[in-house]
């Protein structure tokens, strides 16, 4: 008896009316994977450097994210405290621990409680950094890693994201290129999250409601100035 893998691949090949691809043809396909090319990138995804930030903000606000601009990472703690106060939330956040987050002077707000590690159900708010922002649709791209657990992006009710403004790219393709530059071709972090606005549902009578299972609020802190890579 042949195993399922063999018989399924055989069924696929029979349907295609051929045997396994010869090495030369497979090599051509392999090259398509090893050297990925962009397909059509819409004009919206190719803004000039001057337009890039404005378009990102416009698109992000269109999907009910809120955006605040900060002059540098040193302004982040104060912005977080103010955000939580206005939202009437406790002054405590679960924070990521990557280079950008470590460069934030959290001690400047002694009344703000911070904790690292994976999120737990009782965490009301989290602060993480984004690997990129995509102007095309106001999308944040976040990577998982030992210092950026994925649960921070989903369990808390409010998600605050630090996005260095130099990390805003035009299109998804630009972001993939940056990621390949960082990790090498064909390699991915365990999780890449594209996040476009706060969680929502329209499953009850097509009424749009924010905050289905993920965060009800998404605050983007767009930071100018020096940021660690």
């Amino acid at each position: 008896m042949t195993d399922a893998r063999t018989s399924m691949l055989a069924a696929v090949r029979a349907a295609l009316g051929r045997e396994r691809l010869p090495d030369t043809e497979a090599a051509v396909l392999q090259r398509r994977l090893d050297e990925p090319r962009s397909n059509i990138v819409p004009a919206r995804g190719q803004p000039s450097p001057e337009e890039r930030i404005d378009r990102f903000i416009f698109e992000a606000e269109r999907v009910q994210a809120t955006v605040v601009r900060l002059a540098g990472l040193e302004e982040v703690p104060d912005a977080v405290v103010r955000y939580l106060r206005v939202a009437n939330m406790p002054s405590a956040v679960r924070i990521g621990d990557d280079a950008v987050m470590q460069a934030v002077p959290w001690h400047s707000e002694p009344l703000l409680e911070t904790a690292t590690g994976p999120a737990v159900d009782s965490d009301a708010a989290s602060v993480t950094s984004a690997f990129a922002g995509v102007a095309e649709t106001g999308t944040l791209i976040l990577l998982s890693g030992p210092k950026s657990p994925t649960t921070l992006n989903f369990l808390p009710e409010a998600h605050l994201v630090v996005l260095p403004s130099e990390r805003i790219v035009g299109s998804y393709e630009d972001a993939w290129q940056r990621l390949r530059g960082k990790l090498g071709n064909g390699r991915m972090p365990r999780v890449v999250n594209w996040i476009t606005g706060p969680s929502r549902t329209a499953d009850i009578e097509q009424t749009l409601l924010l905050g289905a299972h993920g965060p009800k609020r998404l605050q983007i802190m767009l930071v100018d100035g020096e940021c660690p890579q």
């Binding site: 399922a4 893998r5 399924m8 691949l9 069924a11 696929v12 090949r13 029979a14 349907a15 295609l16 009316g17 396994r20 691809l21 497979a26 396909l29 994977l33 990925p36 090319r37 962009s38 397909n39 059509i40 819409p42 004009a43 919206r44 999907v63 590690g117 994976p118 999120a119 159900d121 649709t137 999308t139 998982s144 030992p146 994925t150 649960t151 989903f154 998804y172 993939w176 390699r187 991915m188 972090p189 365990r190 999780v191 890449v192 999250n193 594209w194 476009t196 606005g197 969680s199 929502r200 549902t201 499953d203 009850i204 009578e205 097509q206 409601l209 905050g211 289905a212 299972h213 993920g214």
Partner: protein, 474 residues
């Protein structure tokens, strides 16, 4: 699930008498199509992206074996495991054995049409594993023991009152007299109830919108974030995907993602698009340590080899459903199986047999709106015609229809005879109907006269009058 496609006319009849359903459908017809239009108006490249997406999928299907093997290689390299499942039964058994190995009692689920297709929920329940749907719409219909009525909006057929009733019945921990009139209150309650389930489940099962061969990633798109909690919190992650979900590269996936949400809900992008590659890594602080991908055939390789290959480009956006006037009249349950609308009318006969689901390809005016909106440019009306061809060849269509057609064709192939028969026929009909100009009822024509009058013919044929007037023939 057991199909009721065979009794489609009865299903449709019931649906048209269902007041709640009809109210939902009226709301629905004004929703998605309008939003889709607005989204596309903001993207002038939409049609060229459709061409590109079609080409990507065609290329992938032509080399499906290659891309599946590369995908598997990458999943394995990243520490995950791929299970090849030829049919629904082997997929169900594979899921169950993974659940048993991990001692699972509770399984959270992201919305998955493949899950519906293989009936995984019923199966797990029979084997003492509790599956919990976490997409709000899926959760609601699971409480009601109903199948989804729409691939992307499974509870679209229900009113908020019906949802509230289900919550009162099933959420016994809440006071019976709590206010539950507004969707917001229902959502907040469901969020709390399901949050506990998310934290409790040992296994999370999701579908996949795409599989990326370049990296071994699975792509999952949701708006609620339930998919992400399902695939992040448990110790074991299971992804069930049919073979045709694979695409070559991240760029290819990105091109298709530009079409998916715009076509589905009119969003530029769904809120969460997640690329997951393998299990938790050594230094990671969260994520499931075990990662399984089930690759399911269940009829796909057959379609790959026949005239329905193009249907395998389908990305399950639901645009054809949202624009279908038949779906708009009867909703999704009438189709009698997991899928509905034009894509369902093509897919269901292919998956469960044209003899079982023969009504579905016939219950269409072939108006072509589905093909017009399909982001993957699937020629749905042509596929419906091909299914009708199959039925005719297999002599599955009703005998009176076949005989009537044969008699008509016999006459129509003989112009002189045809013209004589028609002359006599219309003269007789016109004599009967001249006074009112229309018929409210005619023997053997109740199909027509049930809903509308039949305008009376003028009483002579064009052909006889043209001859009478000495019009030119050649």
């Amino acid at each position: 699930m057991q199909s009721t496609a065979r009794v489609f006319p009865d299903n449709a009849h019931r649906a048209m008498g269902d007041v709640n359903l009809q109210a939902s459908l009226a709301r629905f017809s004004q929703g998605f199509p309008v939003k889709r239009r607005l989204a596309i108006d903001r993207l002038p490249e939409f049609d060229s992206l459709r061409d590109a997406a079609r080409d990507i999928k065609n290329h992938t299907l032509e080399n499906l074996d290659f891309y599946l093997e590369r995908f598997e290689e990458k999943v394995t390299e990243n520490g995950g495991r791929v299970h090849w499942c030829a049919d629904a039964e082997s997929a169900r058994q594979t899921v169950l054995s993974i659940c048993r190995e991990s001692g699972a009692h509770t399984v959270t689920k992201g919305k998955s049409m493949i899950g519906e297709e293989i009936g995984i929920n019923e199966f797990l329940e029979e084997h003492s594993v509790a599956p919990i749907e976490t997409d709000l719409g899926e959760y609601i219909i699971q409480l009601r023991h109903e199948p989804p009525s729409h691939i992307i909006a499974p509870a679209i057929h229900l009113s908020k009152e019906q949802v509230a009733d289900s919550f009162r019945e099933h959420h016994a921990e809440y006071p019976a007299d709590r206010p539950l009139e507004e969707p917001r209150a229902m959502l907040d309650e469901a969020r709390t109830v399901l949050r506990r389930k998310f934290l409790q489940a040992e296994v999370g099962i999701t579908g996949a919108n795409m599989l990326v061969a370049e990296t071994g990633s699975i792509v999952l798109v949701t708006n609620e974030g339930n998919g992400d909690l399902t695939q992040t919190l448990p110790q074991v992650q299971i992804v069930i995907a049919s073979l045709e979900k694979v695409v070559p590269t991240l760029e290819d996936a990105s091109t298709i993602l530009r079409l998916l949400a715009r076509s589905a809900t009119g969003q530029d992008l769904s809120v969460y698009t997640t690329f997951t590659t393998g299990p938790r890594r050594p230094e990671d602080l969260d994520g499931p340590p075990a990662f399984h991908v089930l690759l399911l055939d269940n009829g796909r390789s057959r379609m790959l080899g026949n005239e329905f290959r193009e249907m395998l480009r389908c990305i399950r956006c639901g645009a054809c459903i949202n624009h279908c006037p038949i779906y708009g009249a009867i909703g999704g349950h009438a189709y009698g199986w997991v899928y509905s609308g034009p894509m369902g009318a093509v897919l269901i006969p292919n998956l469960i047999g044209v003899d079982e689901a023969g009504h579905l390809p016939n219950a269409s005016t072939l108006c072509g709106r589905c093909e017009e909106v399909c982001p993957m440019r699937i020629p749905l009306p042509r596929m419906l015609r091909k299914l009708r061809d199959q039925q005719f060849e297999k002599k599955l269509s009703a005998k009176p229809v076949r005989w009537g057609l044969a008699g008509w064709a016999f006459v129509a192939r003989r112009p002189a005879l045809y013209q004589m028969v028609m002359q006599i026929g219309v003269a007789a009909l016109a004599a009967l109907g001249r006074k009112r100009g229309r018929f409210r009822w005619l023997p053997m024509a109740s199909g027509w006269t049930g809903a509308r009058d039949l305008p009376a013919p003028q009483g002579f044929t064009f052909q006889e009058m043209w001859s009478a007037r000495g019009g030119r023939r050649q």
